[in-house]
């Protein structure tokens, strides 16, 4: 049934472009209504990206953000999965930590800002920590719920085949809960990026976030629009890659 699948894929692609077009139209209309100097039009935003593209200082900021995100993402994944699995395995730990984490998830992380600045000062570590802080809670929550709700049959199979504790985690628990973990990672890494950029806005002189702050200070709305647009594209790209990976890894699973 290749033709049917191709047809569906084409439909999905078509839907995507229709949605994209609709967004651009709304954006353009908003720009006309509010005024070009505040809501920069799509065309001018793209033009401004072209300008930034040729500016060498821009790439310094861009690389700084990517590097900070790479650090923050790695720490977030390791920490979130580790915490999620260990808290999910133990009933008592789950019952104590779940409400705490839920509270933490809804807390605006900006309130923790002064504490982080006090410990890490202004610069690279502060924005990495800020990114981790945003991402680690959703990843932990998703992972520990997935582990908690894992079908009991898998634990029975593990016991039947006398799997070691290590094999039980690596070859039973993780593959069994991987689809749920991936949903957590998708959400978690997007907010990690957001956290890094927020961190740069207040605690760094480098990166797209600090560039954004600088542009706001100069009332350079074209640059603000261009950088914001790029961040959205980056986040969408990240999410799509994760979705693609998720599908790749689970072609056989339910």
């Amino acid at each position: 049934m290749t033709s049917l699948r191709q047809h569906l894929q084409r439909r999905r692609l078509a839907d995507f472009f229709i949605l994209l077009l609709a967004l651009v139209v709304v954006w353009q209309i908003a720009s006309w209504l509010v005024g070009d100097e505040i809501v920069v039009s799509p065309a001018e935003t793209i033009a401004q990206i072209g300008v930034l593209y040729r500016r060498p200082t821009f790439w310094g900021h861009f690389d700084a953000t990517l590097l900070a995100f790479a650090y923050a993402a790695s720490i977030t994944i390791v920490l979130g999965l580790g915490l999620g699995i260990s808290l999910g395995i133990s009933r008592a730990a789950y019952d104590t930590c779940e409400p705490l984490l839920m509270a933490l998830a809804s807390l605006p992380k900006v309130t923790l800002y002064p504490v982080i600045l006090m410990f890490f000062g202004v610069g690279f570590s502060a924005k990495v920590v800020f990114g981790v802080l945003h991402g680690v809670v959703p990843i932990t929550l998703f992972t520990m719920n997935a582990v908690r709700n894992m079908p009991a049959i898998y634990a029975r199979v593990a016991r039947l085949h006398r799997l070691s504790a290590r094999d039980r985690v690596l070859h039973m628990l993780i593959p069994a809960v991987l689809p749920e973990i991936f949903s957590g990672l998708r959400l978690g890494l997007s907010v990690t990026l957001l956290g890094v950029v927020l961190g740069e806005m207040f605690a760094s002189t480098r990166g797209l976030g600090s560039m954004l702050m600088g542009a706001i200070g100069l009332a350079d709305f074209r640059t603000v629009a261009a950088v914001t647009f790029m961040l959205i594209v980056l986040a969408t790209l990240l999410s799509s890659v994760m979705l693609w990976l998720d599908r790749r890894l689970h072609h056989g699973a339910k």
């Binding site: 039947l160 593959p175 689970h250 339910k254």
Partner: protein
């Protein structure tokens, strides 16, 4: 190949249960559910033993305790002379009532799963898995994932996964419950073939009377919960047998003797569940 028991020699005991009881609940003053027992039973080496009983009588619980998956509340289990307590002994394999195929692995890798975790070398794994996959008629589906298979094929995958471990005692908990009657008869034939060719002891849990009668050397009829053995019937079938045995005249006698026991117990089980439902509605 197992050698038939010489006449007049006592059969060798493979597994033994003494005063086995398993309860659930009762923590922090909660209500205690007596799931099973007391059960005292000897399972002979190389025999095909079936357990039959009304639904909810504790058959799965019995299998779990016998396999060492859960410890008994009281009483003892021994396998090959050694006590079993809460861990599965080497040489015991089990197939669960629920679908226990692993959805992230294809059929071949599902079957290889247990061997990959006990240090068997890759060449030996390949030999045994290929053999088991072929034996269970899954060769064309070796690369398929469980969600692409029928319930029967998934269950066969699980049987193959147990087979490759070369267990000396295989416990199967209603492995064909989800299948239609005809397919079940055919699967029964395959199970007999497996039993004959491996010489293993088989303990089959079922709620189908005809299945138990056709397959077994001995059949234990269980009471309503808490399940105990009320009668154990010896069929005396030859070792070389298949589903055509259902045409024999003796089948009727064995079935009616078992049904005489089970009828009353099934009624009790029905009343139990009715009372439970009523109690739940009332509260």
């Amino acid at each position: 190949m197992a050698v038939p028991q010489p006449v007049g020699v006592l059969p060798e005991i493979h597994a033994e249960c003494r005063d086995l009881v398993r309860n659930f609940g009762g923590i922090a003053g909660g209500h205690v559910i007596e799931a099973m027992g007391p059960i005292t039973l000897e399972i002979r080496r190389g025999e095909f033993f079936s357990v039959i009983g009304p639904s909810g009588c504790g058959k799965s619980t019995f299998m779990d305790v016998l396999a060492g998956l859960t410890p008994p509340t009281s009483g003892t289990v021994t396998f090959e002379g050694l006590p079993v307590r809460g861990t599965v002994p080497d040489g015991v394999g089990a197939v669960f009532q629920e679908d226990a195929s692993l959805p992230w692995l294809n059929v071949w890798d599902n079957v290889a799963f247990s061997l990959r975790h006990d240090g068997t070398d890759p060449a030996e794994i390949k030999r045994r898995v290929d053999e088991a996959v072929a034996f269970m008629g899954l060769r064309q589906f070796a690369k398929a994932y469980p969600n692409q298979l029928s319930g029967g094929m998934r269950q066969r995958t699980c049987i193959a996964r147990t087979m490759v471990m070369r267990p000396r005692m295989i416990l199967l908990d209603e492995p064909f419950a989800a299948l239609d009657a005809q397919t079940r008869l055919l699967m029964g034939d395959e199970l007999l073939r497996l039993w004959r060719e491996t010489g293993a002891t088989v303990v089959l849990i079922t709620h189908a009377l005809d299945e138990a009668v056709m397959l077994s050397d001995r059949i234990g009829a269980m009471s309503a919960r808490p399940g105990r053995f009320l009668d154990i019937v010896e069929t005396g079938w030859p070792r070389e047998r298949d589903s055509s045995i259902l045409a024999r005249a003796e089948v009727g006698a064995v079935s009616s003797r078992l049904w005489g026991v089970l009828r009353e117990e099934s009624q009790k089980a029905l009343d139990q569940s009715g009372r439970l439902a009523a109690a739940r509605e009332g509260s």
